[in-house]
Every structure is written in structure tokens, then in C-alpha cells.
Amino acid sequence: MALLQLSEPGQSAAPHQHRLAAGIDLGTTNSLVASVRSGTAETLPDEQGRHMLPSVVRYTEAGVVVGHAAKRAAADDPLNTISSIKRLMGRGVADLSLLGSRLPYQFLTGEHAVPRIHTRVGDVSPVEVSAEILRTLARRAEQTLGGDLEGVVITVPAYFDEAQRQATKDAATLAGLKVLRLLNEPTAAAVAYGLDTGSDGLHAIYDLGGGTFDISILRLNRGVFEVLSTGGDSALGGDDLDRAVARWIMEQAGIAEDADQGLQRRLMRDACAAKEALSEAESVALDVELGEGRRWRGELALETFESLIEPLVRKTLAPCRRALRDAGVRADEVRDVVMVGGSTRVPLVRRLVGEFFVTQPLVSIDPDRVVAVGAALQADILAGNKPDEEMLLLDVNPLSLGIETMGGLVEKIIPRNTTIPVARAQEFTTFKDGQSAMAIHVLQGERELVSDCRSLARFELRGFPAMVAGAARIRVTFSVDADGLLNVEALEETTGVKAGVEVKPSYGLTDGEIADMLKESAAHAQDDLEARRLREEQVEAQRVIESLRAALAADSDQLLSADEREGVEAELEKLIEIAAAGNHVAIRRAIEALEKHCEFYVERRMNASVRKAMSGHQLSEFE
């Protein structure tokens, strides 16, 4: 009889209606497939019990070979054996020069926009090569789960752009798979640890793979992960740790730098084994075959090993620091650090990362499999195997969402076609000196002017202290949840004052209306551009006028003669007049003319304020 799996209460499927789903970690070096069975997400092994599938595809006359067998043949048949294809996904021919030097394949350029690789059975594109890997993994999943897959979740790096994501989707379609969702790799790792069901906060995902290092800072906001920043080093990974150990063995054993390829490969293999052993032991015995019957025996102590790799591990902390800075957060604000990639098993890596983020890193899930496990959990939910309340909707927002800025312009915060749930934030500031409140006008649509978009909501952020224009930092966060509900929050960051509103953006809009709004936007693209330029210059003119008036009121009596003042005021009037008319080029010129005319005044003001700041002080205080 058929083999049964445990379902959630009330979720037992009728016969032949199981919604089988899998998560796929499509990696540069290795790929994995995982699925949820009886409530547990696990990676699925092949017939030999191997979980990882090398992301290597070999084209032969007899057919396509994927995985271990292809990898073994790589040295003998390099032109027909393709590895690291992920680096080429979604790249154009023009991008090849950036990557090509490291790839040994014969590229065809010609009239194609997408690079094609010449093999003995014909030319293949990166999408086709990736599809072979996906097909192999999907077949394994179907054999293991005993049925066809309803859909898959495929993970991609957080830094993948639209083209790279689309190429990944195309590869899945070509492999006959339905993509339930593309999931960011760091998000998948966080999901595997159930961080998505925890309370809101910051998480870091530290991913030290074989050849690359990635760090991502995520913010969990109402159950949605927002990628705040990413960073890394595309030429630093576990292989570099092995190389450091191999170099040490060469020194100890007196092996020349130019040792033959075979010996070098053996050294790398022994070094890797030693590294792995030292995750649990205090020291490891080494026995290296030097060739011609000679051997070298020695011992590598944990302490020596750590001194060899410490500089490399420390090198990963610089991108971490940068990622934190880009995200605008401090290391101690990060609640959890998820470890991904085999090299994070090295105790020193865990220790240094733990010290850096001042927290114990999460390591309980196999770091090689954690991304696939997270993808499987997501796939299970999306395929509909969970009770309704945990159901996530896969959708996109049909029209851009944004807020009104000075001059009646719309600043888009979530562009149309963004998959939801999503959260995006942007910082705004005050326009006038002493401003202590800000009106937030939430809009929907593709047009540039507020008057042409749909108004969704208005609210005010009040009660932050009066500051000079531009000093307040107001972070406006848009989050659209799985049900399409928009939540807008404004937070003045220096004081913590906040306000918010919730709306359902697509409320009352039919598909036809949405289509009309899009059509209109295309039809008016040129007008909108002109209108935006004009408004932007008018806003800029207004800003210059305001600040000049403020300056004249403050100190023109002391700094300007009556004549000079008259001259400045005349230029100011000229700008006011031109700004009211509708020519953005003329306004720009008038602003420039006014600024030029006022240079002497600005200089005097500067000197005056420096004098004021320094008077009564000793010169030595400023040194």
C-alpha cells in the first residue's frame, strides 16, 4: 500500500490530492532539495544517501549528466562540463568581461543578448544549464515523495536583481516546475529557524560558503522580512581556509611551491579533512602522500590551525561592519545571527562572529542545509498544507504606492509589481526651519503628480521638536501584508515620535480601473516628466527664497550696505517672478544667478559666524 505521512489536524488530503511541494537551494557550487514530511522539513538524499548535488552539468553524446559524476569529469572534459553557472544567470553578453576570465568555456557572442556556451551537443544558455540541475533535484523529490510536485520555492541571493530572478524562474519553467515563490537565501535561513514567527527585530545571516562570503541584515516587521543591507566578499570562502592549512603543510613538509597538480589537490583534500576534524578535536594527525612512495607525517594542533585562519575569518568582519553601517544599525541591536555554509562549523568562526554581534550564533540546523530547509517550509505553506491562518498569499501590488513630497510630487516607495508581503522604508526631512509636524499623504498610481494619482489616506506626524530645515530624520515605512493591507508608519528618528495609518490599497478598484491607470501613465509619460522637472525646480526655488529671506531678516543690517541689500532683494524678486511662470530651465538659471549674486553675502555670513564661535576662546582650543 501507499506510504502515508502525518498531516496537521484536519489537513489530511484526499487520495491522489496531496499537494507535494519542495524547497530548492540552487547554489553556485552545490544544490539541495528539501521537503516537509510529517511536519518535519528535511533535505532529501539520493540513492547513495548524498544530500548535496554538485551544481555541475556535463553534456555528452549519450545525454546530460548532472552532479557528482559530472564533477568528476570536469578536469578531463572542461569545455563540456559546466560549473558555477549561477554566476552567469541573468547576465548579458556585456557582463561577461567582468566574469569571463574565471570561466573556461567557449562563449558565443554574436547577435544574442544572452551569453551561450558552446558544447559538443550544441549551444546552451545559463537558463538551460540551471534547468538541468533543477530537473535532477525535482526528479529526486518526486521519487522520494511519491508523486508530482505541486510547486517549488527556489532560493536566490538577496542581491539578485530582477533579470537574475527572472532567469531563475525561466529555468524552473523550462524544467517543468511551477515556482510558488523565489525566496531570498538569508530569508530562507531565518525561516528555517522560525524567526519569522518570533517578535519583530533585527537578524543577521552570516553565510560563509565554499568560495564566497555573504552577510545580510534583515528586519522582521509584522511577519515580513525586509532586507536592510547585504555585503560580502565574492572571493573569500571555506576554500581559502583549506588553502591556508595546505600552505602550512607545504612549509612543514618542505614541499616546493610549484608542486604538481596531483599533489596540490591531495594537499587541499587533506587540509579540508583536517579542518573538519578540528571542529571537534583538539589536534589532528596528518599523513600526506608526497608521491614516489614518500610520505610526510605530522600533527596540526587546534591552536596552530586557529592562528592560521584567524586573519581570514577576521576579514569577514569588515563586510559585516559595512552591512551594519549601510543598514544604519549597531552590532548589539542584532538579535540573532544565523550561520549558513559549511565553514561556519569551524569553532573559531562561531566564536569571532559571536563576539562581533554580541550574541550566541544559531547553529542547531546543519549550516549546509538550512537554506533548503527554510525554502521547504515556505513551499509547504504556499502549497496549502497548513491551516488557513498560516496561509501566505503570493501576490504583487498592482500599482505603485508612495507619498506626496514638496511641490505636489509623488515619491514612490513601493513600485508596482513588487511581490507582497513587502516592507520598504525611506527617509524624509523637514522643509522649513522650526517645522514640528509633517503631513503624510499616501498615494497610489504611476503618475508623477499628486493630482493625477489616487489618494489613499492622509495623516499627520506631530510633536517632534522644532529643528532647522533638513535636520529632522523622518523614516516612513510602507508595509503591505499578505492580504494586501497597507500599513504606513512615520517615525521621527531622533525623538521616536511616530504615527501611522492602515489602508487597503486595492479597495474598490476593479481590474479595468487599474488597467486604465496604467494606460494613462504610459500616455502621459512625457508630460509627467516635464511637470516633475518644473515642480522640482519650483521647490528648489522656494527653498532658496525661504533661506535667503531668513538670512536677510537675521543679519542684513550688520553685514550689508543699503545698496547691497537692495541688489540682493532685486535678484530675489526676479526669482520669485520666474518661479511662478512655468519654465524649469529659466528657473534653474534664475536660481544660479541669484546664488552667484549672493556669494559675497554668504561669505560674510560665514566669516561672521566663525568669529562668533571663536570669540572669547584661545586659539589653542581649536588645535
Binding site: M1, A2, L3, L4, Q5, L6, S7, E8, P9, G10, Q11, S12, A14, P15, H16, R37, S38, G39, T40, L44, P45, D46, E47, R140, Q143, T144, L145, G146
Partner: protein, 107 residues
């Protein structure tokens, strides 16, 4: 009669419940659907229902509603592998025939 399970099946159930983090046991049952009449139900159980009979074997609680018990009495739950696939099996003495795939059965 009673419902029993093999050591393999008991170990699996305990692991799955542990991974899930909650649950009093598993629910066994039948429902009328499928190409051959009846289909098995196998689910995690969070609470014991009013008309449930509870069998305990090898430390695993198995809940069965009164209607299903008629069809399942004497069943042994096993865990096995078929190629890459693995899962639970019902060795049900009441089943007279099952459809080709074995997901449903008749009594």
C-alpha cells in the same frame, strides 16, 4: 482487538511530535473518498475528542473516532521504505481490496 504500532513506527511518531513541538499523539481514521471507497487519515492530534477511543502502544497515543474504529480495529501501523520514498503503512485486516496505489481501500 486493538490498534498497535511497530517499534519503527513508534520511533518515527515520537520524533515527528518532538519536532513539531506539541501534540498528544496521532489520529488514525478513515474517510469516504478515493477511488476505492475509503481513505486513511493520519494526522497529528492536539486534543482527545469526545467520541475518541485512545490506544497506547510503545508510549504513543493513538486516537480513533468511533466511526473509524469499525474499519481499523486490529490494524498495525508500520513505517517502511520503498526506494527513496518512506512513510507509514496500515496493515489493516479489515481491508478487502485496495486501489492500485493503495491510498484507498474497501471493506
Amino acid at each position: 482487538m486493538a490498534i498497535t504500532l511497530t517499534e519503527d513506527a513508534a520511533n518515527r511518531v515520537r520524533t515527528f511530535i518532538e519536532n513539531r513541538g506539541s501534540g498528544v499523539g496521532i489520529r488514525l481514521g478513515v474517510k469516504t473518498s478515493g477511488c476505492s471507497g475509503m481513505a486513511y487519515v493520519l494526522e497529528f492530534a492536539d486534543e482527545v475528542g469526545e467520541d475518541d477511543t485512545v490506544f497506547e502502544d510503545r508510549g504513543v497515543k493513538m486516537l480513533i473516532d468511533a466511526k473509524s474504529l469499525v474499519y481499523l480495529d486490529g490494524t498495525e501501523v508500520d513505517y517502511g521504505k520503498e526506494g527513496l520514498n518512506e512513510g507509514f503503512k496500515f496493515n489493516n485486516p479489515n481491508a478487502q481490496a485496495s486501489c492500485g496505489c493503495g491510498e484507498s481501500f474497501t471493506v
